[in-house]
Symmetry: C2
């Protein structure tokens, strides 16, 4: 579903260049369960944003279902993102002035889902992540881990074929983190492609392949025997 | 150094009340190394904000070095915070429009440290957390884990007697997380009081006591044999 062909990302600040990604090539099959691990600052979020069609590479190409995304306009990218990809941001990225329920409804507003169905599906997604009693709180009125879970509910509510989750359990205790991993496991069992960034080994071990990133490059691929 | 006497915190939203802390009492000795663990939403950050003099309890008292902080004005609280307490926020809380170097200098600006010394100490604190090559980046121009480390540098740069760190390693890979824990261990060895919130058992095991919070109450105290 994804093919990355020699993707590089260079951030230019004045006369300083930061090479966040250096000539990265790999492919992800449809329905695959992959994890990305690597040290802080190694380029994981940069790579996720490019795969999520939220950012463009400096050079190289990303193919989504065989189509080169760099050939698409911003509007077409936004449409693909909304229809196909659920993105869990490392910093949650919830809109601060609306409730977490309204935040979770947003992707369905763009997709044109009728209001009553939208509300029901958003409530159910939030109940699934344990936030049924916090629907009308604003993001600043819930805990860090609850914000993280709200952003996970928002990412999956539109039933995307691909879920990209950047450190989805960083703020969660092990029991709550295990519930979130169960959600991702179920989505993958139903055929959805799941790509997770994590620095927790026990989270990565849910995946069938772990891509190890070091200093903007793929250091090694670890294939896991799935039982 | 801290005595909490029947501290409660109730958030009131319209007609809904959220009891985030319920009658919590405990004491922390000067120079102690304590960890706070508990499920997402159990009240850890709320408790940390009250101990950090960033928020007031709904009822009960917090004594800092024998003084009841609820008897202090906002100005006096800000002074105590700046002089005595280094706070690492769960959401980092860096000012977005200035560089991370300027963010780390801020506590010293309030404390009246001369500019040259301020700049040198801020650079050293950022080098200590591995960010020597990102000094002039804005918070949005570094990775999630780098923002977290910048907020740790800011918390320790004023040499506070007490460091309160809310999930300081949530966005860090194990090697980088271990470097941060070494920093906290050294600060404690020098006599500073360290209180960490974490959901990672291996981080909590650096402490000599783990306070387990459940649903706004202390569920149990775990005393660790320190070798
Ligand atoms: N401003 C607020 N208004 C209403 N409820 C709030 C507010 N802030 C926090 N809460 C609620 O109080 C409870 C405790 O929140 P707190 O942030 O202390 O939890 P926590 O233990 O730090 O969780 P996490 O591990 O997810 O960070 C949560 O259930 C949260 O929804
Ligand atoms: N806008 C930017 N401008 C300049 N440099 C940037 C920018 N965004 C990221 N970087 C740098 O690019 C590198 C990769 O960042 P990225 O966020 O992809 O890392 P990461 O692997 O996700 O790290 P973490 O595990 O800490 O979240 C980092 O060294 C970072 O400082
Ligand atoms: Mg990242
Ligand atoms: Mg918290």
């Amino acid at each position: 579903v994804f093919v990355a062909d020699r993707i590089s990302k260079v951030y230019t600040m004045g006369d300083v260049k930061v090479h966040a990604l250096r000539d990265i090539s790999f492919s992800i099959e449809s329905g695959e369960y992959a994890a990305i691990m690597g040290p802080s600052g190694s380029g994981k979020s940069t790579l996720m944003h490019i795969m999520g069609c939220l950012d463009r590479p400096t050079s190289g190409s990303l193919y989504l279902r065989g189509k080169d995304v760099s050939s698409l306009t911003d509007g077409e990218l936004a449409e693909i993102r909304n229809a196909e990809i659920g993105f869990v941001f490392q910093n949650f990225n919830l809109l601060p002035n609306i409730s977490i329920l309204e935040n979770v409804e947003l992707p369905m507003v763009y997709a044109g889902v009728p209001p009553k169905e939208r509300r029901e599906r958003a409530v159910r997604a939030l109940e699934m992540v344990g936030l049924g009693s916090r629907l009308h709180h604003k993001p600043s009125e819930v805990s860090g881990g609850q914000r993280q879970r709200a952003s996970i509910a928002r990412a999956v509510v539109n039933r995307p074929a691909i879920v990209l989750a950047d450190e989805p359990t960083g703020n969660l205790d092990s029991a709550t983190g295990a519930e979130i991993m169960e959600l991702f496991d179920e989505l993958n069992a139903k055929g959805n492609t799941i790509i997770l960034v994590t620095h927790e080994r026990e989270v990565a071990e849910h995946a069938s392949r772990i891509i190890h990133i070091l200093d903007g490059e793929i250091a090694r691929m670890e294939i896991r025997k799935t039982n």
